[in-house]
């Protein structure tokens, strides 16, 4: 265990060195690295979760199935996989606001949200969101949750992956699923943001 704080150049060299050794041992290839980057840069991201939310807003029976078994309901839409093997969807209402975290590391529902933003993985958010969520949401995310609304924080300590079904905004009665999905933001499914106005 070393207390060396490395520069970007030093980390890059050390990663490259380990990667080269893993390639020599037949454990890694550069094409596998490229493929993984391609998947999480272009294929698996919050647009998938947004589609699930839009369907739940427009299909009450699907919504009931989604809240009963998140993994199974997402599988109906061909969505699932790594780090979302067991998903639980929690619903925001007029009286409940949900927000997710992983205080012990960085657990996050990759199949619906992609890889987490850096702030989600960093110490400030993880340390404070379980202790003063109302303050963090107001001061750091500009989200004012009145005291009358209960804040439920979900700490993903196991392999269960929690994520938020945000409330459908007013004035969206005429919109179809595709238009609704475009209103759903990543942060609204983490619980640190809201859905865009139509």
């Amino acid at each position: 265990m070393s207390a060396t704080v490395r520069s970007q150049e030093e980390i890059a060299a050390r990663v490259k060195a380990l990667e080269a050794l893993m390639i020599e041992k037949g454990i890694m290839t550069t094409e596998a690295v490229d493929r993984l980057a391609e998947i999480y840069e272009n294929e698996v991201g919050p647009q998938l979760g947004a589609g699930v939310v839009a369907k739940a807003w427009t299909d009450p029976e699907f919504k009931a199935r989604l809240l009963a078994d998140g993994t199974k309901a997402c599988a109906e839409l061909g969505i699932g996989g790594l780090q979302g093997e067991d998903m639980v969807v929690v619903e925001n209402t007029d009286t409940v606001h949900n927000v997710i975290t992983c205080t012990l590391c960085s657990c996050y529902p990759w199949p619906v949200l992609g890889l987490p933003p850096n702030w989600y993985k960093e110490p400030a958010y993880r340390s404070r969101i379980v202790r003063e969520p109302r303050t963090v949401l107001r001061e750091d995310f500009g989200l004012d949750i009145p005291d009358s609304v209960e804040i439920r924080v979900w700490d993903s300590s196991s392999e269960m992956r929690y994520w938020v079904l945000p409330q459908r905004p007013a004035g969206t009665e005429g919109l179809d699923e595709k238009a609704l999905a475009e209103l759903v933001t990543r942060d609204s499914m983490i619980g640190t943001g809201v859905v865009k106005a139509p």
Partner: protein
Amino acid sequence: MNGVHDLGGTDGLGPVVVPENEPVFRAEWEKAGFAFFPTLFRAGLFNVDMFRYGIEQMHPAVYLVSPYYEHWLHAAEHYATKAGVIDEAELEAKTQYYLEHPDEPLPETKDADLLAFVDAAVKHGAPARRESDAPAKFEVGDTVTVTQDSPHGHTRKARYIRGKTGVITHAHGTFIYPDSAGNGGADDPQHVYTVKFTNAELWGAEAAEPNGVVYFDVWEPYITPAKTEGAAA
């Protein structure tokens, strides 16, 4: 272990820094840092719980300030060295080489099986659910207290819930037990429950924010029946 990674409830770490827009990978090295996890996992160097424990053993000061994927580099190095797949001197020498020749290309190899593994892993995942005949000792609605034990090895029993009393809201079935698998032991499947704790129970009535609860998942050995019923009603 009572490590610095167990951050829930720690004060003094400053505001959450939320950039307007951020790429998925902020540097080329982050892509390889990310790929260490699935590829070294496939090579059998660690399971998910051991991977987390590898990160937990980083120097705490470095853990708090280093870029996220450097944590993954640390876990990968830790287990590759431990398994004897690489040695420290070899890694140091190569690191020095790439510091002096940062644009030197990596060895070109192909492996169709590895690519197929990557696609299959992303699509189907690596479920931690395991069959077990053990009957559940608790059910939804039970009031339970988290034990105070502080194991030195890997655990998912965060310090901020130890000794606290809450109510079980979900029973999820049986899963790999991190306190065994993370320390190189067997899967040892255990029942997993979600327990709801009030803010007042966790932080005390004076410091707690109003009208809030925290849900935390526990494996059965983490909890005992609460001594005083209704303590966290």
